[in-house]
């Protein structure tokens, strides 16, 4: 790994930390632990378009671990991990088709992030009761996905990394 790669990586990881801190500060009702807006997806989105796929995976897993150990608890780690993996898989697939813009890929990623978390929550609780909150999550996920996507598109175009 070159020094340049390490520096990029450190920078993006730091950005992910700042974004998750912003997320914690937002007074959103949290019904299910670990379910948040997904602002850190900005970093993964950027890595997906501007670095190799391997970096996107590393960053995605790293942000989940960092956030869980800094702001959350070990328990919410598994939900976040499930969401992050599903989200990145879908984003990679949509990007590969070439039919979606950065914003479109971002929205799909955000929605799938919440979907992964809800599915794991359902499995753990052995109850579909969590689904009651899914419409609200879909809505917030879509809106957050659009915002992150628009910001991501600008970054992908402008940042000379």
């Amino acid at each position: 790994m070159s020094a340049r790669t390490v520096a990029r990586f450190a920078l993006l990881t730091a950005l992910a930390m700042v974004l998750s801190w912003v997320e914690v500060l937002l007074p959103l009702p949290t019904i299910i632990p670990g379910v948040k807006l997904g602002l850190t997806n900005l970093v993964v989105l950027f890595a997906l378009y501007r670095l190799e796929t391997r970096s996107a995976w590393c960053l995605s897993i790293l942000r989940v671990l960092l956030v869980a150990f800094t702001f959350g608890n070990a328990f919410s780690l598994w939900y976040s991990l499930a969401g992050a993996i599903l989200s990145l898989l879908v984003m990679m697939a949509l990007k590969a088709t070439g039919k979606f813009s950065v914003t479109g890929v971002s929205v799909a990623g955000a929605v799938c992030h919440n979907l992964g978390q809800i599915l794991v929550a359902m499995a753990v609780l052995r109850s579909a009761a969590v689904a009651y909150y899914y419409p609200a999550l879909l809505l917030s996920g879509t809106v957050a996905g659009i915002c992150v996507g628009l910001a991501g598109a600008v970054l992908v175009r402008r940042i000379p990394l």
């Binding site: 019904i31 813009s101 009761a129 879909l138």
Partner: protein
């Protein structure tokens, strides 16, 4: 617009949200508070009788039913998402405690009769 598929990926979640909302929306007034741990019913209490129940022993959640609404007022789960959910009163509303795999759900009179039979029966 160059990426016409974008609209699809934005409209689809919104459509799904709308549909799910209509399907899952509260079905009238709440009658009972249904408590499940690990998917199994551990208690069912009338919503309009005030009481305080401690669910679990080592892993506990304090369920308070008062003035027609239910709330988890204390728990040793660590994240306290269940406590922060606050009061629920309408059928379909739930309080979830993931660390304790606990679901507290408000159900209507007609709903959940199958559960009522398996759970000991409530007329």
């Amino acid at each position: 617009m160059k990426h016409r598929c974008d609209l699809l990926v934005i409209l689809l979640p919104l459509l799904a949200a709308g549909l799910l909302f209509l399907l899952l929306r509260p079905s009238g007034a709440g009658q009972y508070v249904l408590v499940t741990v690990d998917g199994a019913e551990v208690g069912r209490y009338p919503l309009h009788e005030d009481r305080t129940v401690t669910i679990g022993e080592a892993d506990y959640n304090i369920l308070e039913i008062r003035d027609g609404s239910a709330a988890v007022t204390d728990a040793n789960c660590g994240d306290h998402t269940c406590v922060r959910t606050g009061q629920i009163r309408r059928a379909g509303e739930t309080i979830i405690c993931l660390p304790h795999r606990l679901v507290v759900k408000i159900i209507g009179g007609g709903e959940g009769t199958v559960d009522a039979v398996s759970g000991g029966g409530i007329a």
